[in-house]
């Protein structure tokens, strides 16, 4: 009963529909690419180009040395001297300065006398993440100023991402986000669109079975996923200079399985929906939370426990681990296979449920 020939015919049709039309081809290729480049570039948790204010009540020279040392670091680009607390409030309110350093009158005197002086750093809590990181930088600079040559030396090194480039972290994740969203939306909408336009009936009266149709519908999502994966690989390696240390085969296999899982989810959504609008919104309602809890934007271990449990079910979580592992960490085959297994399980379940729901609808 099950015929590969028919499955292939429908899959080929899906690909034709997707890629023959100029507009649809454009929509599949160009916006995601633009997203990779723009957001890959924009997304950074590093703190750069920081402006800060200084309220200096200290008459001595040492506070100025501290300020200059901070300004000497590439992170900080502009220092706004303020004369009064009122002015300081203005500058902070406007968001011109990420933080203000306050030196009191005794700063130089204390230091010269061998006492430990204190300085205040007032941070803008509206950007508390950036402010916190900037504060660490400042603390590091001040303590290195006074560092004694004695004592144990500390060597700090970063593995996998020596310069802590945020892109190295975010770009591999972005491909996961895009493959997932496109797989969800493309698969979800094609079924709804066929229903709306009426081509679905024409397909159903042919000898092809619902299983064949459902499986064939997964192909375009996988193909676009692989195309994006390839483009992305080229962009991140040659455009952003991210090293690729793992196995290409592993990357492609996991991309394929992951795209299947996304497509299966899309198919589930679409079998519940009547119109394209509902399918789109449905895909969106499922897709965005999945992205948010998958650890692609923020680390999973910062989340509350129950969300960490939920994120275990989301295939994207494991894909994030896998793709980063393949790219940066030279992941061990053992843990790679464990991740792949979880994604494959998710794919299997979602495709199975989708096919079942699909059959019930027709």
């Amino acid at each position: 009963m099950f015929s590969l020939q028919r499955l292939w015919a429908i899959a080929w049709k899906e690909l034709m529909v997707l890629f023959f039309n100029k507009i649809s081809r454009f929509l599949i290729i160009v916006p995601p690419l633009a997203q990779i480049i723009i957001f890959g570039w924009a997304a950074t948790m590093e703190v750069r180009n920081v402006s800060f204010a200084v309220l200096n009540r200290d008459r001595g020279i040492l506070s100025e040395r501290v300020t200059n040392a901070i300004l000497g670091s590439p992170t900080f680009v502009r220092m706004i001297p303020v004369a009064s607390e009122g002015e300081m409030c203005d500058v902070m309110d406007r968001g011109d300065a990420l933080f203000t350093l306050v030196f009191d009158e005794r700063f130089s005197r204390d230091l010269a006398a061998g006492r430990s002086p204190s300085m205040q750093i007032l941070l803008d809590g509206r950007r508390s993440n950036a402010a916190q990181i900037a504060c660490h930088y400042v603390t590091n600079i001040t303590s290195s100023l006074l560092a004694s040559e004695a004592g144990p030396g500390i060597v700090v090194r970063n593995w996998f991402n020596p310069n802590l480039e945020f892109q190295w972290f975010f770009l591999p994740n972005l491909i996961g986000i895009l493959t997932f969203m496109l797989g969800l939306v493309v698969t979800g909408l094609t079924v709804a669109r066929e229903r709306e336009v009426g081509t679905f009936d024409q397909l159903l009266v042919t000898p092809s079975t619902p299983t064949e149709i459902a499986l064939a519908k997964l192909v375009p999502g996988c193909v676009t996923g692989l195309i994006h994966g390839t483009l992305f690989l080229l962009i991140s390696v040659f455009g952003f200079g991210i090293p690729f240390s793992g196995s290409l085969i592993l990357l492609y296999v996991s991309l394929l399985v992951f795209a299947l899982a996304s497509g299966g989810l899309g198919l589930m959504v679409s079998s519940l929906c009547q119109t394209q609008q509902q399918a789109f919104l449905g895909a969106f309602t499922i897709g965005v939370p999945c992205i948010l809890i998958s650890g692609m934007l923020t680390p999973i271990h910062n989340m509350p426990k129950f969300l960490q449990v939920v994120s275990e079910i989301v295939p994207m979580t494991h894909f994030a681990v896998l793709v980063q592992g393949v790219f940066l960490r030279d992941i061990t085959w053992g843990s790679a296979l464990a991740c792949l297994g979880k994604i494959a399980l998710a794919a299997l379940v979602s495709v199975f449920v989708a096919v079942w729901m699909f059959k019930r609808r027709t």
């Binding site: 803008d124 508390s128 990181i133 603390t139 004695a150």
Partner: protein, 399 residues
């Protein structure tokens, strides 16, 4: 036959707009997907941003490889274990560490070398440097007895881990020096967070997520409305009635505006009551600025809707021009000042960027005219521009 058409044209004009609004509302009420977007999505997003997404660091998993195995090294390990920031995994050899790092069982590790004890001895010999403002400690000269290695894949966590680990080590050494009666001066840095004293990321993520939600309602929901009317042939019927294009636009704008403002109020109430985000500004200012922002979002959605006649294309345009930029480019999660200049420029063109700054300020800092006034002027300008484009777009789309 035509007595009614000309009586009281201004009144008639208003009545026609009201009729269009009533129609739109009736349609919204009947469509389950509009409930989803107006009620379910805001609640879900707020929940996720409020509880799930957090930039605050929880326990960091650190490995410690103690090759020295002396009393002093054990004391350092104990300090790490006692620190509120770390969960310590004791490792026994380099292979184990390597594996744990590759499988990201740990986020970084401290390697205490065999000569650690000896290097501590130097503390006693040289009672602190008098050269107070010496150049930075030249690491290469002294063979380091402590190694701190951090998993850099996730740079944000990595820099936190670096900073915390270093402060634990420094604190430990200072303690030792005090024990031995050596006093080195140090600059104590007193951190204080303004606007957000506990420095919780919820406090800025939740107001920011309101921006995302309003963009979603404004842009995504409206990007389909005209496309749908063209597809179903109702647009033609409308154009054949005496209503003008301006009335048609108003008939779409007002109901979705109301829906958006409703979600805004809902989100604000949830943010304050459920997530305990402080609100320090004026509610009136919030309403006024959100209205202007809502107009921008609606303008963007309607602009897409007027130009894209297929629903699929319109939906995708809404996603890529509305939702993703407001999530990633508006300073919601990623700080704008750290982006490359071109993107900073681009982000200035996004209504979401301006609104984000306003709403965070209103929530956390209060009504600060020096922030709100210029941003509101920018928003008003963008809203006017978008509305003009919508009006002109609708005019052309009949042919």
């Amino acid at each position: 036959m035509n007595t009614t058409a000309t009586t009281g044209s201004a009144k008639l004009w208003r009545k026609q707009v009201l009729a269009l609004i009533a129609k739109e509302f009736a349609q919204i009420v009947r469509d389950p997907s509009s409930y989803m977007i107006a009620l379910l999505l805001p609640a879900l997003f707020l929940f996720l941003f409020g509880y799930g997404i957090s930039l605050d660091q929880s326990l960091l998993r650190i490995g410690i490889l103690d090759e020295s195995k002396t009393q002093s090294s054990t004391a350092l390990v104990a300090d790490f274990s006692a620190s509120p920031w770390f969960r310590v995994h004791i490792c026994h050899n380099m292979e184990e560490v390597n594996l744990a790092m590759r499988e990201s069982a740990i986020q970084g590790f401290v390697r205490i070398r065999e000569d650690y004890e000896r290097s501590l001895a130097s503390l006693a010999k040289r009672p602190g440097s008098q050269n107070l403002l010496a150049e930075a400690h030249a690491q290469g000269e002294v063979p380091a007895s402590l190694q701190l290695v951090v998993d850099g894949t996730e740079p944000n966590s990595a820099s936190f881990l670096q900073a915390y680990a270093q402060s634990v080590i420094l604190g430990h050494i200072r303690g030792l020096m005090r024990e031995r009666g050596i006093h080195t001066p140090e600059i104590t840095v007193q951190e204080r967070f303004w606007y957000n004293p506990s420095a919780k990321s919820v406090n800025f993520l939740v107001p920011g997520s309101i921006t995302v939600i309003m963009t979603l309602i404004g842009t995504l929901l409206t990007s389909l409305v005209f496309a749908r009317e063209w597809e179903r042939g109702t647009m033609e019927a409308m154009l054949a009635t005496p209503v003008t294009r301006l009335q048609l636009i108003l008939g779409k704008l007002i109901p979705y505006f109301a829906l958006g403002m409703f979600s805004l109020i809902l989100c604000t109430v949830l943010a304050i009551l459920v997530f305990d985000v402080p609100f320090r500004g004026s509610y009136l200012a919030l309403l006024a600025i959100s209205s202007v922002f809502m107009l921008c979002a609606l303008g963007q959605g309607l602009l897409i809707s007027v130009h894209m006649k297929g629903q699929l294309v319109a939906a995708e345009a809404g996603l890529f021009s509305g939702f993703l930029p407001s999530l990633l480019l508006s300073g919601f999660i990623f700080d704008i000042s750290s982006m490359p200049p071109i993107l900073q420029w681009l982000s200035e063109l996004l209504p979401a960027t301006h609104f984000n700054l306003c709403i965070r300020t209103l929530f956390l800092a209060g009504t600060v005219p020096s922030v709100l006034v210029p941003e509101t002027i920018c928003l008003t300008g963008l809203a006017a521009l978008l509305m003009l484009l919508v009006y002109r777009g609708l005019k052309k789309s009949i042919e």
